[in-house]
Amino acid sequence: MKANIVPLDFEKPLNTLSKQINELEQKSSLVNGNKKLLIDLKTEYEKAKADIYKNLSPFDRVKIARHPQRPYAVDYINHISPSFYELHGDRTGKDDNAIIGGLIEIDGQTIMVVATQKGRNIKENQKRNFGMPSPEGYRKALRLFQHAEKFNMPIITLIDTPGAYPGLEAEAHNQSQAIALNLRELAGLTVPVISIVYGEGGSGGALAIGVANRILMLENSVYSVISPEGCAAILWRTREKASEAAKALKITAKDLYELGIADEVIPEPVGGAHYNIEETCKNVLSSIKKHLDVLNKLNGEELRKDRQEKFRKIGEYIQG
């Protein structure tokens, strides 16, 4: 286990082993007995690692999705594009930093990226509002979607948000309308739209930038109508039951793939994206390229139809 990584509760046994290994390795000369111990510990570590990560519960994945060291939108942007021209503001009075957007390039094609962005610490989170966008953030996103449509740029959205910000000002400025309008306008675009859920897909706040031709999910990301804690508090009447709620709601990438919502699950390194950001970004980029290749071949009307049909099909019911 990398020394600088903050362990999650289910990783504690690994962390203990890893500390023992490190201590042994730091001793300059090893007596033979210690050498054997080191090998044993390493074997034990690998076994424990395989066990733990093979049997992750949905709520364990929620924890990975929320890990403070998980790569965020800016990390992906910096890894997948040689440059990033960030475009700011909704033009009408606010620049919401919970949503970022701008121009990137992939294989000589200009792409509009729009993403939710959390902060790494308290100071950053004051600016980013913990990745919870305000109506102005969604209006900035809409402005950028329309910009992309005008200039024939595919759109990639990167999603990791607890949800749209529930606040007084957000309601006064019509959070609902801002989200609703994005859903409708995204549906009508004639450029490719690819959405990647890379952390928490927090309900309407995520969907507001997620009406896409392709929805891709990182292996340990989740996407849900409500947070497990919120659901537990309402239906189980205690937040303690979040783990049960997480399981019942079917929120993991695999679940969404099986439900026909996610089009692909992008693999993460063992333990989660934060164990190897480079590798994760490489996986994300190759997945983007694969889907972009297909979508770039469709014309505007086909793209629009493809997207609308994707959502038209969603829903389970019986009739008659």
Binding site: Y85, G89, T92, K94, D95, E105, Q109, T110
Partner: protein
């Protein structure tokens, strides 16, 4: 110590030691004020004396305090456009005095004075040029000419430039520096806001890029029309940009306004512009933005008429 004394001292010192910073021209007597003004420029912000030719090399950005001093319309174009590629258009569209307007001075006299005292024939210079070999339609405002105010000529030249951009399918760049609409042409000035904006509607619907650069200062009818309608809005650091002037607002609301009010940075924070870009980065940013907005579009074509040739170019007059 006045400028002249400063120079006198320097001359005295010259005898004692080898001059390094002094210009190579011979100073037989104490230079006139005019010469002083051309050799040295005082930074408007930090008051440091700057060697004019060096300041020009630094794109008129103060090396001490980073103050971006005001440029003439042509200096601006020279800084952004590839050398020798600029072809001015509509330089023969000239102002008249439609209302025979007179305040303390007749408008006619003001026009005459403006023509003499500024380096341009009206408050905007328009034309076609290339940025890193990418042709663009570009208009640059001249603040020295009646505060860069927009009257019939500014409105007409901008509108023609937009129409040319649509016809040739060129990206458009407009650089604003203006106090707003020109009062001396009354309602005709006001209507230039609508005229330029409706031309921009056509440009927008034609799917063409418009980058608006807002520079110190951009106010009133210019901000409230074409300057704010860019697909991308860029401002220079600390440029003051707004609708109403600071004093008018303070008098109306009877409150002191914050120091950064109506600065480029304030606008960025309030979601009104896309980016604040240092003058030294401007050309690269514009070049990148033009490329990023045109490389996907297969409809975009390079017009043969616009293969710009250095030899044919009426070179950058009056700079």
């Amino acid at each position: 110590m006045g400028l002249k004394d400063f120079f006198k001292n320097r001359q005295l010192k010259k005898a004692a030691k080898q001059q390094i910073e002094m210009p190579s021209i011979e100073l037989k007597s104490i230079p006139s004020d005019e010469t002083l003004c051309t050799l040295w420029t005082k930074c408007q912000s930090c008051n440091q004396l700057l060697y004019t030719s060096e300041l020009k090399k630094e794109l008129s950005v103060c090396k001490h305090c980073d103050h971006h001093s005001r440029l003439t319309a042509m200096e601006r174009i020279e800084q952004l456009v590839d050398y020798g590629t600029f072809i001015e258009i509509d330089y023969d569209v000239l102002p008249t005095d439609p209302l025979t307007f007179s305040d303390l001075k007749p408008y006619k006299d003001r026009l005459q004075h403006a023509e003499k005292s500024s380096s341009a024939k009206e408050a905007i210079v328009t034309g076609i040029g290339s940025i890193d070999n990418q042709p663009v339609a570009i208009g640059s405002m001249e603040f020295q000419y009646i505060g860069g105010s927009m009257g019939s000529v500014v409105g007409e030249k901008i509108t023609r430039l937009i129409e040319k951009a649509i016809k040739k399918r060129l990206p458009l760049i407009l650089i604003s520096s203006s106090g707003g609409a020109r009062m001396h042409e009354g309602i005709l000035s006001l209507m230039q806001m609508a005229k330029t904006s409706s031309a921009l509607k056509e440009l927008h619907d034609a799917g063409l890029l418009y980058i608006s650069l807002l520079t110190e200062p951009t106010f009133g009818g210019v901000t409230a029309s074409f300057a704010m309608l860019g697909d991308i809005l860029v401002a220079e650091p600390k440029a003051r940009i707004g609708f109403a002037g600071r004093r008018v607002i303070e008098e109306t609301i009877r409150q002191k306004l914050p120091k950064d009010f109506q600065t480029a940075e304030y606008l960025l924070l309030n979601g009104q512009i896309d980016m604040v870009v240092h003058r030294k980065e401007l050309k690269k940013v514009f070049s990148d933005l033009v490329r990023l907005h045109t490389q996907n579009d297969k409809k975009f074509f390079f017009n043969d008429e616009l293969v710009l040739n250095v030899k044919d170019t009426p070179l950058l007059a009056k700079v």
